[in-house]
Symmetry: C2
Subunit: 337 residues, 2 copies
Amino acid sequence: MFGAVIYAPGDVRYEEREDPTILEPTDALVRTVAACVCGSDLWRYRGIAPVPEPTPIGHEFCGVVTAVGDLVKTVRPGDFVVGGFNPSDGTCPVCRKGAHANCQHGSHYDGAQAEQIRIPLADGTLVATPTMPDDDLIPSILTLSDVMCTGWHAAVSAGVGPGKSVAVVGDGAVGLCGVLAAVQLGAETVIAMSRHEARQKVARAFGATHVVAERDEAGIAAIRALTDGIGADCVLECVGTEEARLQALGCVRDGGNVGLVGVPHGDLPVNDLFWRNVGIKGGPAHCRAYLPELLDLVLARTINPGLVFDLQLPLAEVAEAYAAMDERRAIKSLLRP
Amino acid sequence: MFGAVIYAPGDVRYEEREDPTILEPTDALVRTVAACVCGSDLWRYRGIAPVPEPTPIGHEFCGVVTAVGDLVKTVRPGDFVVGGFNPSDGTCPVCRKGAHANCQHGSHYDGAQAEQIRIPLADGTLVATPTMPDDDLIPSILTLSDVMCTGWHAAVSAGVGPGKSVAVVGDGAVGLCGVLAAVQLGAETVIAMSRHEARQKVARAFGATHVVAERDEAGIAAIRALTDGIGADCVLECVGTEEARLQALGCVRDGGNVGLVGVPHGDLPVNDLFWRNVGIKGGPAHCRAYLPELLDLVLARTINPGLVFDLQLPLAEVAEAYAAMDERRAIKSLLRP
């Protein structure tokens, strides 16, 4: 089969790789129907994270099961499935608390930008659709393997609920999904912070009540002007830079909450958080905990997170999919074999 | 009138001071029925916080209103009242969100270990009891001016609710009130961490299901043994030292929450928090937000937080009240004029 392999910063190749096989009795093999490129894949592409050797890349997919190990009970060959980027067993004490991203037996896969992929812990990771989904739903289902679950996690971690005011820092695909999550969770005011027209448009389509183009102090002032002068109840930090975290802390009201899904760099000003009674929570998304509900919403056409894809390419053109995102010509690239 | 004045570390004197007067039309004057010494008062007593000049001290009280300013509407002379240590106006946008500790017009008072005290923002700070309370309820009502609200705040900030497992770091009066709060909020497992028999006894009286005497790694192991091997859903950090915060982070499960009410010293390990999906929230307690509910619980004799007082002295012996707490001969000292 063919798949993407990253060789070095800026160098992703589509090449022949060995077909995956069942290695553990809890594995499933999936024939990819769609895959995509994640903002976090760009870390290696941009040289921020190392590439010590040529490595299969990609962790977002949906597709059809082709084989399962002897212990797999909940999915079978022929099922259309989607799974989170972070495999979970679904049975350990941490998963039973709903914290699947921190599963005691959680593992890892890479190489999903390929024609086939091996998924470990299939029962605790994959969710099958009741029937083969309509083709136009594929992009939205694909978002459930990471980006929509991650935006949802930001909103859940920030305590978003009915009547809340929410500001979203970051207009990448995760931030836009955070906007959609906040709207879906009943927030009254949802402010997307974005300077890019195409992204503002998606944010509005997702239900953002306001768009703020300013940043830094001007951005904070604009958020306060929309929130009774005090800042938002909940802020979703969907970037991960220190600048973004400071923006988030400036935009949250005293007593409010910041949901973090950008991998943090830099320190937290603990004294400031304390005296302001500001809460911080977040991390890798508990995809499998959110998947059933979000899949229902997608299949019922209640939400359409697939709008984050503004570029669709054949899997063979994966190198261009990376280049377009790296150069910010695309919000997010979808790939089909 | 007479009241306590701190002159220097270890030097608290009971001496004549000027009678307080109405300074602002939103003030009330209160004749003290009971006051007490706070763990945070000990910072100055122990030389951890500076004492630049002789300063009236104390911020916990309950008593009877003797006069009110022209704009005060909700309390009147003769009312028995209790108020939080952090005055709040109750009307600003932050108070309307329930974050009274961060009131935009929040002010400060000191000198409550005295026969009389001036309370600013009386309408937004004080709560009157429907009738004169029975004398045996006075200690519990007094705790609502700080320590019980602070323990409650730790539990609320950590997301304590029905079915949760809770570990409490710190067996001072705040930690013990945190135990009581967790039980009252419906937690299933409430673990007090304490090595002191008298404090363990209060924790059990408050409903702790378990007591762990170990600290550090042994303490973490003991908490895990009681929580399916993974740590507590919620940890209340009621000390404020770096050691206590690390203890709290070791005792919380992945995906859980730490409620902080000890003033933080040292840094937060943000990367560890993120990858473990652990939330942190806390700060000064929103006393006025909690007071009505907690006062009802006290007056109905549902909770008895006054058990934290194990020493009662005449106000004139305030110096001994400090010494007993400093030397850990007392958990908390109650003073009556």
